[in-house]
C-alpha cells in the first residue's frame, strides 16, 4: 500500500509537469515581446549631483521639439531610470512595437528642471560608425540584442536640437 501511494503520487507529479505550461493565454500575455537589448558602457562620470536621471530612449523619428507628442503616440519610448552611478556598464531591455527606430540614445537629466535639463550623452552606432546615429529595425516577436551604447561624459555626441 505504501508503494502504491508513492506510485500514484509520482504519477500525479508527472501529470503536473506535463500540464503546467497552462496552454493558451490571452494574446496580450502570449505574444512574444519585441524590442532591443544591450549594454550601456560609461566612462568619465561627472559629479554625482549632476546625474539626476539617466534613461535610454528609442525614437521612430529623428529627435524633435515634439518629443512629448512622439511619446504619447507611442513613437518614442524610454527605459525606466538607469541608476548605475559609477558603474562601468549596465544591461538594459526596452520593449518596443516592431518597426524602424532611427535614433537610440542615452539622455542625462543634469539639473532639477525635468522639462529642460536634459542632454544626450550617448548614441547607438553600428560597428565602424562613430558619429552618426544608426537606425535599428525591430522585427515582430523578437528582441534585437547587442544594441550597445557608449557614453563618455567627457565626449558627448552632437545634440540633436
Amino acid at each position: 500500500m505504501h508503494r502504491t501511494g508513492i506510485g500514484i503520487l509520482f504519477v500525479l507529479v508527472l501529470m503536473y509537469f506535463v500540464s503546467c505550461d497552462q496552454g493558451l493565454s490571452p494574446v496580450s500575455v502570449s505574444v512574444p515581446p519585441s524590442g532591443i537589448s544591450g549594454f550601456v558602457y560609461f566612462s568619465h562620470w561627472p559629479p554625482a549631483d549632476s546625474v539626476v536621471d539617466l534613461r535610454l530612449a528609442a525614437l521612430r523619428n529623428p529627435p524633435s521639439s515634439n518629443l512629448i507628442n512622439e511619446v504619447l503616440q507611442g513613437k518614442a519610448k524610454f527605459t525606466s531610470s538607469l541608476s548605475p552611478y559609477g558603474a562601468d556598464s549596465i544591461a538594459y531591455t526596452l520593449i518596443l512595437t516592431p518597426g524602424k527606430y532611427v535614433y537610440v540614445g542615452v539622455a542625462q537629466q543634469f539639473g532639477p528642471n525635468i522639462e529642460q535639463d536634459w542632454r544626450v550623452v550617448g548614441v547607438y552606432h553600428a560597428l565602424g560608425e562613430s558619429v552618426n546615429p544608426d537606425s535599428v529595425i525591430v522585427p515582430a516577436d523578437s528582441i534585437v540584442n547587442g544594441i550597445n551604447v557608449y557614453v563618455d561624459f567627457n565626449n558627448i555626441p552632437p545634440q540633436p536640437l
Binding site: I8, C20, D21, L24, V27, S28, S30
Partner: protein
C-alpha cells in the same frame, strides 16, 4: 402532403411486417417446448467473499442459449436439450469459468459456480462485433468497453464525456473521431455509428449523434468497435461503431437517486473573466426498476442544468425514460422502451478573439436553441431451438428543434422536424461443426421537414447481411461476411453498396490472442450535408445535391497478451483507405459546400495496457499514433491529432477510491485556415496540445439500509487552457460533488 402520405404508408408497412413476425412467433410457440423442457439452474458466487455475482454471463456452449445472473447471483437456462452440456461463465473482474458435463434436468437442481477474481480481464463478453454475445478474445477487431461503474465514477453527464478516455478516440464538439476517421464537419454526418441496443440512433436530418438524448443512468455498458463496421451495420459505420447497452431490471426492486452540483472556477487571466457571477452546474436523477415474474419495468428521469463557463453556453435539460419487458413464454420476450429529451440552450459558436476567449461574438450573444427529441424502441426475441433465435427490433427517433439564428431565408431562425425509423429482423444460429451464422434484413425510413434550412425530404433504405464465424480449430477462428445496402433520398439517385469483411483470431494458449481483419465501409451523406442552405457565424453554406457516398477499406493486425496476472498488453496496427471523403470546402467567395474532396489514407498503431496490483492499484494506459494523410495533396487531414495518450489510475482502499485521468492529444496540425483568413474567427488558429488531468475521490457508506456513494471530482486540475475547436476554449477547472443513494 405526398411526402407525408409516403411516410405514413411506409410506417404502416413496417408495422405490418413487425406484427406479422410477432404473430408467427406466437403461433409456433410451444412447438419447441414440446421437444425440450429441461432447465439448468444455478448460482454464481465470488470465491473471495462467497457473495453472489450480479450480471455474470452464463452461456451454454455450442448453442445460442444464455442467461445473466440476477442480484442474488441466480441464473436459469431454459429449454435445454436432453443430455450433458458445457457451461461458460464470464464476468468483468473475474476469470472465465468453464463447467463441463452439466446434466440438464426437468426437476429443480441448483448448480453453484464459484468465480475467481482476475487481476486483469481478458475475456469480457461483448455483443457488438458480431451481433451476438462472444468473448472479446474471439473478436477480430479492436474493441473497448466502458462499464456502468466507470460512468458513475466520472459523473458522466453526457456519454461523449466518457468516450474521451478511450484509447484512440477523441471528441470534437460531440463528433467522435476513432483513430483519425473523423475531423470536424460542423455537427452534420458521423463516421461512427451510434447504436442503442443494436439499433441505429442518429438524427434523421443532420445524421449526427445526439448525445444528450442518451441519459447515462440508462446505460449498462458501452462497447466501442474500432474500424469499419459496415459489413454488419451499414452506412455511417465507416470509422467504427459505438453500441450502448441499456440496463435490464433485476428481480429485486432497485431505486437509485443521484444528485450532483459543481462550480466552474474563474480563469486566471483577467481578460477571460467575463462575469463575476458563479458559474454552476448540477442535476438530479432517479431510476427505479422492478420485476414481477414475467413482467419487468424500469423508469427514470433527470433534470440537469449547466450555466457554462462560456457566455451564452448554458443548457437546461429534462430527460425521461422507461422500459417495459414481458417474457411471453420461456422462448420469447418482448421489450418496449421510450426516452425523451427536452432541452433549452444557448449557442456559443466562436470566441470574440483570444483576449475574450470565453465570450461569443456580439452577433451570437442571444442565440437560443430549443429541442425536443424522443425515441421509441420495440424488440422481440424468439428462441426457435437451442441453436437458433430470431430478434426483431424497431426504433423510431423523432427530433424537433428550433433556433433563433437569423438566416437569409428567415430572419426569425430555423426549425427542423425529422423522424428516423429503422426496423430489423436478425437470425443467429449455431450450426453443428463450429459455425455460427448471423444474418438479417433491415429497412430505414427517414422523413425531414425543415423548410428554411434543409427543405422537405424523404429517404429510405434496405439491407441484407450475412456472417459466418467458423471455428477452424480450437485455436483458430475465422469470420466472413458481407452486407448489401441501398439508400435513396427523394429526388436523388439511389446509392448501392456491398461491404464485405473477413477476420481471423488465433489463440495459441489462454491469455494470448492474435487478430487480423479486413473490411469495407461506407457512409451516405446526411440530408443536412446535401441540402443545407443557411448562413451561420459569417459563413454561407450552400447545398450540393451531387454529393456521393464516401467509402473505405479498413485493415487491422493486432494481438493481446496477459504478461502475468497483473499486466495485460494489447497492440494493434491499422490502416484505413478512404475515397470520396466528404469535407466542407470553402469557395473563393467565402461560401462553404460539402463536397467529395478527399482521397485519404490513415495509418497508425495503438498500444494499451492494464496494470492491476493486488486489486488495489489499477492503471490503464493507451497510446495511439495516427498519420492521417490526404493522398492527393500530401497534407495532414484537418482536425486530427497525431498522438493520443490516455492514462487512468485509481487506488481502491475500501470504502475509499481515489483516481486520476490524464489525456494528451498533440496539437492539431491542420484546420480550416479560411476562418482566420476571412476574418470570421479572430485568433482562430491559436491552438496548443491538449494536456488535461482530472482528479476523483469517492467513498461508499451506508445510511441505515441505503447504500450511499459520495464523490468529489476536480476536472482540469491544473487549469490547462486549450482550444477544443476553432475559437473555442475547452472546459476550465471545475469542481463537482456527487451523491448517490441506492435503495
Amino acid at each position: 402532403m405526398s411526402i407525408s402520405i409516403t411516410f405514413l404508408r411506409s410506417r404502416y408497412n413496417m408495422q405490418r411486417i413487425f406484427f406479422t413476425v410477432l404473430i408467427f412467433c406466437v403461433m409456433v410457440d410451444g412447438l419447441y417446448a414440446q421437444i425440450v423442457s429441461n432447465t439448468i439452474k444455478g448460482t454464481v458466487i465470488s470465491s473471495e467473499d462467497q457473495r453472489p455475482v450480479f450480471g455474470a454471463n452464463v452461456l451454454l456452449e455450442g448453442t445460442v442459449l444464455g442467461a445473466m445472473t440476477d442480484s442474488r447471483g441466480h441464473f436459469a437456462l431454459q429449454n435445454i436439450p436432453n443430455g450433458e452440456h458445457d457451461l461458460i461463465i464470464s464476468m468483468i473482474g473475474f476469470k472465465r469459468q468453464f463447467v463441463p458435463d452439466v446434466l440438464a434436468r426437468t426437476d429443480r437442481e441448483n448448480l453453484t459456480v464459484v468465480l475467481e477474481p482476475a487481476a486483469v480481464q481478458t475475456e469480457p463478453v461483448v455483443i457488438t462485433a458480431s451481433k451476438h454475445e462472444q468473448s472479446l478474445e474471439e473478436v477480430p477487431l479492436s474493441m473497448s468497453i466502458i462499464d456502468n461503474q466507470a460512468l458513475t465514477y466520472r459523473n458522466t453527464v453526457t456519454v461523449d464525456d466518457a468516450l474521451k478516455y478511450v484509447p484512440g478516440v477523441s471528441i470534437t464538439r460531440g463528433q467522435v473521431n476513432i483513430r483519425g476517421s473523423t475531423g470536424f464537419s460542423y455537427g452534420v454526418g458521423t463516421r461512427v455509428l451510434i447504436l442503442i441496443d443494436g439499433l441505429p440512433f442518429i438524427s434523421g436530418d443532420t445524421g449526427e449523434i445526439i448525445w444528450e438524448s442518451i441519459p447515462p443512468d440508462r446505460i449498462e455498458r458501452i462497447e466501442i468497435v474500432k474500424g469499419a463496421g459496415s459489413a454488419l451495420y451499414g452506412s455511417s459505420a465507416l470509422g467504427g461503431v459505438i453500441n450502448i447497452i441499456t440496463k435490464r431490471p433485476s428481480d429485486q426492486p432497485e431505486t437509485i437517486v443521484r444528485t450532483y452540483g459543481g462550480l466552474y472556477q474563474l480563469p486566471k487571466y483577467s481578460s477571460w473573466q467575463w462575469t463575476s457571477d458563479a458559474r454552476t452546474l448540477g442535476g438530479l436523477s432517479f431510476t427505479h426498476s422492478q420485476r414481477f415474474d414475467q413482467f419487468s419495468f424500469s423508469v427514470g428521469g433527470s433534470r440537469t442544468l449547466d450555466d457554462g463557463y462560456k457566455e451564452n453556453d448554458f443548457w437546461k435539460r429534462w430527460n425521461g425514460w422507461a422500459r417495459i419487458g414481458y417474457d411471453i413464454s420461456p422462448f420469447q420476450s418482448l421489450a418496449v422502451s421510450f426516452s425523451i429529451l427536452d432541452q433549452h440552450r444557448g449557442n456559443f459558436l466562436y470566441w470574440k478573439d483570444l483576449d475574450q476567449a470565453l465570450q461569443p461574438q456580439d452577433a451570437d450573444l442571444n442565440d437560443r436553441i430549443q429541442s425536443t427529441r424522443w425515441n421509441l424502441g420495440v424488440s422481440h426475441k424468439y428462441f426457435f431451438a437451442s441453436t437458433l433465435y430470431v430478434t426483431t427490433g424497431i426504433s423510431w427517433f423523432h427530433s424537433h428543434w428550433d433556433d433563433n439564428l437569423p438566416t437569409p431565408a428567415d430572419s426569425s431562425g430555423s426549425s427542423s422536424i425529422s423522424d428516423f425509423l429503422v426496423g430489423e429482423i436478425q437470425l443467429n444460429m449455431n450450426i453443428a461443426g463450429g459455425n455460427f451464422l448471423t444474418g438479417g434484413i433491415s429497412g430505414t425510413l427517414n422523413n425531414v421537414s425543415a423548410e428554411t434550412i434543409f427543405g422537405d425530404h424523404t429517404g429510405h433504405g434496405g439491407a441484407v447481411y450475412l456472417q459466418d464465424e467458423i471455428s477452424l480449430s480450437e485455436e483458430l477462428r475465422s469470420t466472413i461476411g458481407g452486407r448489401y445496402d441501398f439508400q435513396t433520398i427523394s429526388g436523388l439517385e439511389s446509392a448501392h453498396q456491398f461491404n464485405p469483411k473477413i477476420g481471423v483470431t488465433y489463440q495459441p494458449e489462454p491469455g494470448i490472442s492474435f487478430r487480423a481483419s479486413v473490411g469495407s465501409g461506407f457512409r451516405t451523406p446526411s440530408i443536412a450535408e446535401i441540402y443545407t442552405t443557411t448562413e451561420a457565424g459569417g459563413i454561407i453554406i450552400s447545398p450540393n445535391p451531387a454529393l456521393q457516398p464516401e467509402r473505405s477499406w479498413s485493415y487491422e493486425l493486432g494481438g493481446s497478451s496477459v504478461i502475468n496476472e497483473n499486466l495485460m498488453l494489447d497492440i494493434a496496427l491499422f490502416r484505413n483507405e478512404l475515397w470520396d471523403m466528404i469535407e466542407p470546402a470553402f469557395g473563393t467567395n467565402g461560401t462553404v459546400q460539402f463536397q467529395n474532396v478527399t482521397r485519404a489514407s490513415i495509418i497508425g498503431t495503438e498500444i494499451s495496457a492494464t496494470l492491476n496490483i493486488q486489486h488495489q492499484w489499477i492503471t490503464d494506459v493507451g497510446y495511439t499514433y495516427v498519420y492521417p494523410k490526404n493522398v492527393e495533396t500530401g497534407e495532414i487531414l484537418k482536425y486530427r491529432p497525431r498522438n493520443l495518450l490516455y492514462l487512468s489510475s485509481k487506488i481502491l482502499f475500501n470504502p475509499f477510491q481515489v483516481g486520476i485521468d490524464y489525456r494528451y492529444l498533440s496539437r492539431v496540425e491542420e484546420i480550416d485556415e479560411e476562418f482566420v483568413q476571412f476574418g470570421i474567427v479572430p485568433d482562430g488558429d491559436q491552438r496548443v496540445p491538449i494536456s488535461v488531468v482530472d482528479l476523483r475521490a469517492s467513498v461508499n457508506w451506508n445510511l441505515f439500509t441505503t447504500q450511499m456513494t459520495s464523490s468529489l471530482q476536480v476536472n482540469n486540475l491544473f487549469q490547462y487552457y486549450y482550444s477544443d475547436f476553432i475559437g473555442n476554449l475547452g472546459p476550465v477547472r471545475n469542481f463537482v460533488v456527487t451523491m448517490e443513494a441506492k435503495i
